[in-house]
Subunit: 357 residues, 2 copies
């Protein structure tokens, strides 16, 4: 295993220490329990936005803490869910009196722990709601997931809801918005190589020199199938069409009902994309893909979108939700409306995403 | 060779096509001869800043075209110098009547071709000056270089001079500034793995599973020596100390003298860093390094700087000058003064670096 680390068990802590030194003007890090939070937290009169998950996907989530995006992020060990005490202490720290929205990627550990954290927060008198992100169209269930996995849409939800929180959206309105981003987003990824989790010391999976994994998960979970390595155009077209041609997707999620003061099952449906829609196109590197390759994928994505009558109104391209050094990419399309596009354009100042400030 | 490409010979062109689609609001691409330029070029009354070099180092240089940074960038084939006709046509396109400054990394092909381009531009009545970047302390001469190689300082020079050009610095003042950035910057890198040039199809060099190359060049040129893989702290300390303890560095560069209208040899010296200096600390990923590892290096860098009496006043961390998918990093320290720090903070809006706009 070749990595720029010291001891595998110190990777997350040392990385956070360096991170807090490098971005001391933007964020602070609290250890034991561990979370990253805005240097100016709590911001009074604003809903606090908290996310988190296993480390190894940087800049997500810690890199998205700052004005216009997250109030706090709770990093777990690499590819391992953070614990409720991290989320609870983060909530206590960043709550500005308007409550906390937890943005939760759909992995069983994350869902369970964020639900527990929300219950604990409420038992202390904090308002707290959880919204699930489950945008990966590759597989129905997965290694760590019931239902679809949460991937690229998480970055977009954090940006858009972060902007809305700055604008003063209250907690229920912010939860609605976050749900709307998720229901209008679809993603799919591909891996050319595995990554190596430092504590494991060897690649998560083996892929032959001429093989790729279509529909890969961001922790190396199996996707739809293995295939022969193909030209980038074929891969980009396959991913884009898988997203565009994905039908309506129904699922039942568990959300806290503030009026009834109980968890309730909510039936939700993602409407498919249709001719004439405006979209945000997000081409993501899994970490190890050379930057020169992403625009090659974007080029084909744009051609397919044009053919299918989708107008690309906004673009994000780069390594924004990664799997350590995995070579590969994912594509996310988010159907935009005026409100989402406007919130996307709002200023943001975080280590990982910044403009306008 | 596992890459998200179509045919190796189409990589640069297709990547530029996708790039221009993704960032149509910021840049345009001209083909044959090939260069990327600001969508609003020419900007009248402003010196035009042009750089370029072999492709494969993205986001450098094409990703740094935009307001507050480059006016144009000339990409060559991967790891291959662009040609004078690219630079000349770029200069014609972006000149706003105040002349053109070429920022040139010290590689023999780049130096020769940019010099020729400047001569051609002047023969057409354009004002043109070239400033050389040669900040790599690892080796004196190298595979493609007489004298030190130009690496991380290039990104910093492009940002700082780009800001100064926006502020209205005239051509001689901008050339002085660029020279000053270079003379006050030092860099060194390390590789854990090689990258693979698409047209070659196999790794540029072999490194055993337990070996690293200290002082690597950004094209895979040999560095100082091979060493055993070490903990990140030892590597970061070695690179940082190599930079801090590098003595005064003299060289003679060839620059155009506008008054005498001839190329003249200029003796230059880089003063070493000293106790009490303020620096910009730049931790760069070579492309394939997981984002979680960079702050581990930054952490040790910050410790060493503190011990040596250097105050880190500004920070840049991420994949800003890469070598395709090479795993590794480089560190650059730029001694700051008030003017440089203030120019660094100015707004910038490019695909690869953006804040304040």
């Amino acid at each position: 295993m070749k990595k720029l680390i010291n001891h595998p068990e110190d990777v997350v802590r040392e990385s956070l220490e360096g991170f807090s030194l490098a971005y001391a003007d933007l964020v602070k890090v609290h250890f034991d329990p561990t979370f990253v939070y805005r240097a100016d937290a709590p911001v009074s009169g604003k809903v606090a936005l908290i996310s988190g998950g296993g480390s190894g996907h940087e800049p997500m989530h810690t890199g998205y803490v700052g004005r216009g995006m997250l109030s706090a992020a709770c990093p777990g060990a690499i590819f391992t869910s953070p614990t409720p005490d991290q989320m609870l202490e983060a909530a206590r720290t960043v709550d500005g009196g308007q409550g906390v929205l937890f943005i939760v990627k759909n992995y069983s550990g994350d869902v369970m722990n964020f639900s527990m954290a929300a219950d604990l927060a409420r038992s202390e008198g904090l308002r707290a709601l959880n919204i699930l992100i489950d945008d990966d169209v590759a597989v129905k269930n997965s290694l760590y997931t019931q239902g679809r996995r949460g991937v690229g849409a998480t970055v977009l939800a954090e940006k858009i809801c972060g902007a809305a929180a700055e604008r003063g959206y209250d907690l229920p309105r912010l939860a609605d918005l976050c749900r709307r981003v998720n229901l209008n987003a679809r993603s799919m990824g591909v891996a050319l190589t595995s990554c190596t989790v430092p504590a494991v010391g060897h690649p998560t999976f083996d892929l032959a020199e001429d093989q790729i994994e279509l529909g890969i998960g961001i922790h190396g979970e199996p996707g739809q199938r293995r295939a022969q390595l193909k030209p980038a155009d074929e891969i980009a077209e396959f991913l884009t069409l898988s997203i565009i041609e994905d039908g309506p997707y129904q699922r039942t999620v568990s959300e806290w009902n503030e009026e009834k003061e109980e968890w309730q099952d909510l039936a939700l449906e993602s409407p498919p994309l249709k001719y004439g829609d405006s979209v945000l196109a997000f081409v993501n590197s899994m970490g190890g893909t050379p930057a020169i390759e992403l625009p090659i994928l974007y080029r084909k994505l744009a051609q397919v979108c044009e053919k299918k009558g989708l107008r690309i109104a906004r673009t994000l391209m780069g390594p924004y939700i990664t799997s350590l050094e995995m070579a590969g990419c994912s594509i996310t399309l988010l159907k935009l409306d005026e409100e989402l596009a406007s919130l996307w354009d709002d200023p943001v100042k975080t280590p990982g995403l910044r403009w306008g400030i």
